[in-house]
């Protein structure tokens, strides 16, 4: 005798699906699980000290970025290298809006006047970042979302190149090749945690929404996607836009984490790391994004310690410098060959089922 999953807040079987807008099939453990894990890890690791707290905060920033990738790539099945561009936008927007006006006037003299005098609190600047990120993502998405597969991958890569070229050089809208310093930092790790939870919730609900499920259907079947025509394009633009907003949030969070921001913070290395985290964890689910981020970050830390040298008994063990980078890259390649669906298999978090 099989036992149905007890947690489904399911719709009545009699109602046609079109009568139930938005959310379908919400299983609360799928959302609560990742949140609980993230909260637990945050507080446990932070309790170890200030530097650990800083490390966790950085991981939370990265988690938000990986979630940004997940909401788009996981649901649409279309690869995008471009999200780092939106992180750049968000980081600059939030950083410029909160950095002291005096600093901007002295260090960034070429900056556009309105940006020089712009000043607001950290939290409003985050909102600003998200909005700007979504606008840029929307506009670029209108064009890029017409492309599939390989073309989309290359085009979004091109987008990243364009963004990097512009932000690195155009001193009117940002610090250019310089670093924007003195960005106000987060006071407590709870701030980053709250933002990460918000991102988790948003991305999760986007995924299980009716539109999300529709988009996922096109992921499996290219022919069905073509048959649906413009609807697919619209869905992709929607998810690309949301992804851009979340990525911008991540970039903004980064600026308040590091206390400074520059264009090269969001370039190829950043793109690679976050993509690797998502693939290793599992592209298709929010739980995959969480698992991937935490696992890769944890392994990265362990390897970093090993690179610096660790004493076990009387023996000093250390890895050559840069070994950490090799291991993470190798992990990505191995995962693609051996288990494309990632550690979580693309499944969401679920409570162990009890069988009578």
């Amino acid at each position: 005798m099989s036992i149905e999953s007890s947690s489904a807040a399911s719709t009545s079987a009699a109602l046609p699906s079109s009568a139930v807008p938005g959310v379908t099939r919400f299983h609360w453990p799928e959302l609560a699980g990742p949140i609980a894990v993230v909260v637990a890890v945050t507080y446990v690791v932070s309790s170890l000290g200030a530097s650990s707290s800083f490390l966790v905060q950085g991981t939370l920033v990265t988690l938000v970025m990986v979630l940004a990738l997940q909401v788009f790539i996981g649901n649409s099945g279309v690869l995008s290298f471009g999200q780092a561009a939106f992180a750049m936008v968000g980081g600059f927007a939030s950083g410029l809006a909160t950095a002291p006006v005096k600093i901007k006037e002295n260090v960034l003299s070429d900056l556009w006047e309105p940006l020089k005098v712009l000043s607001m609190g950290v939290w409003p600047s985050l909102l600003l970042a998200v909005i700007v990120g979504m606008i840029v993502a929307f506009i670029t998405g209108l064009f890029l979302m017409r492309l599939n597969g390989l073309a989309a991958g290359i085009a979004t890569f091109a987008l990243l190149m364009v963004a990097d070229n512009i932000f690195f050089n155009w001193k009117k809208i940002g610090p250019g090749p310089q670093v924007l310093p003195q960005v106000p930092k987060f006071q407590f790790v709870d701030e980053a945690l709250a933002l990460a939870i918000i991102a988790l919730v948003v991305v999760y609900f986007m995924g299980i929404s009716r539109r999300g499920r529709l988009l996922r259907a096109t992921r499996e079947d290219g022919l069905a996607a073509r048959a649906l025509g413009t609807s697919v394009w619209r869905l992709r633009v929607l998810f690309f836009t949301v992804s851009g907003g979340v990525a911008a949030l991540s970039g903004a969070m980064y600026s308040h984490h590091a206390g400074a921001v520059s264009a090269r913070d969001f370039y190829l290395g950043f793109t690679f790391t976050t993509l690797a985290m998502l693939v290793i964890g599992g592209v298709a689910s929010v739980w995959g994004a969480v698992v991937g981020t935490l696992v890769v970050a944890a392994i990265g830390e362990v390897l970093l310690r090993l690179e610096q040298g660790v004493e076990i008994g009387n023996v000093l063990i250390y890895l050559p410098n840069g070994a950490r980078g090799v291991v993470i890259a190798a992990a990505l390649v191995v995962m693609l060959i051996w288990r494309q669906r990632g550690l979580t298999g693309g499944r969401e978090f679920s409570l162990p089922r009890f069988r009578r």
């Binding site: 597969g149 073309a151 085009a155 690679f272 693939v279 840069g322 980078g325 990505l332 390649v333």
Partner: protein
């Protein structure tokens, strides 16, 4: 003035070779090999390490063989196991292999540049009919012509070349006729490795040193060339690479200040080509379906 033209031609030839290397693998596998840059890098590393002690001819042989071997290794170790994977997975995989190799080079060779004078005579000048021109540009042009010509001959006139063309056009049907898929793909990788070694030679003699990120910029630009020239067309790739290389060279010579935004224009052009004409400049009927 003559030098400017020669520079443009030599740069164009160099990027044509790089783009052809990428195009060869793309043709038979629909794989955009980001790791092509790391093939160029290993070629450069091998030259820098072996030439000072073993001399240039030996160094070149070692570099060519080593690069071709690494290319084959990439195929056998990674890409062969991803035969049935979709384009997105292949793209991420090649990105992964690229970063993996960059980081491996950092561990093996160190993050700092290694320098050596591989072929100092390349940087000298020669007198041709009254004007002085750099040897490097002349040698590069000749090398590019020889290699591109050789590749053309191979692809167009030999049986294996015919099989590669067929596999690029319609892989499944080629197999039905008996074309050995693994052999054809392996050959494509080996040849792309040889082309990468040639690019490495020219680049490392110009720069005088090599570091883990040696091949990144060249690959990114060569990729632009491949896309603009038309994904899936070998002539298109070479042509596209040539155009990108020579245009950048001319822009550097004439525009000075504004060249900082060259990348922006180039990549916007890439996006436009992908949107409007995925087949690129040298477009064929089937190109649209391939991408």
């Amino acid at each position: 003035m003559i030098q400017t033209i020669l520079d443009a031609l030599s740069f164009g030839g160099l990027y044509g070779l790089a783009a052809l290397g990428i195009g060869l693998v793309f043709g038979v596998m629909r794989l955009v090999n980001f790791a092509h840059g790391e093939l160029i890098a290993i070629g450069a590393y091998l030259l820098v390490i072996t030439v000072p002690s073993l001399g240039l001819p030996a160094g070149i042989v070692i570099a060519v063989v080593g690069t071709a071997l690494l290319a084959l290794l990439m195929e056998l170790g990674v890409f062969k196991r991803l035969r049935s994977a979709g384009p997105a997975v292949l793209l991420v995989a090649s990105f992964g292999v690229s970063v993996l190799l960059q980081r491996l080079y950092e561990v093996i060779f160190g993050a700092l540049p290694l320098s050596a004078q591989v072929a100092p005579w390349m940087n000298g000048v020669i007198d041709i009919g009254g004007t002085t021109v750099t040897r490097g540009s002349i040698v590069t042009i000749i090398l590019a012509l020889v290699l591109l010509g050789g590749m053309w001959f191979f692809i167009d006139r030999t049986t294996l070349g015919l099989q590669i063309r067929a596999a690029s056009s319609d892989f499944q049907t080629a197999r039905l006729l008996g074309v050995r898929s693994n052999r054809v793909i392996g050959a494509a990788f080996v040849f792309s490795g040889i082309l990468a070694a040639a690019v490495a030679f020219v680049a490392v003699t110009q720069r005088g040193s090599v570091d883990p990120l040696f091949g990144v910029n060249i690959t990114i630009l060569a990729l632009v060339g491949t896309v603009i020239g038309g994904l899936g067309s070998l002539q298109g790739a070479a042509l596209g690479g040539f155009l990108v290389g020579s245009t950048i060279s001319l822009l550097n010579a004439f525009l000075g200040n504004y060249r900082v935004y060259t990348y922006t224009w180039l990549f916007i052009l890439v996006i436009i080509v992908l949107l409007v004409r995925p087949g690129g400049i040298v477009s064929s009927k089937a190109a649209k379906e391939r991408v």
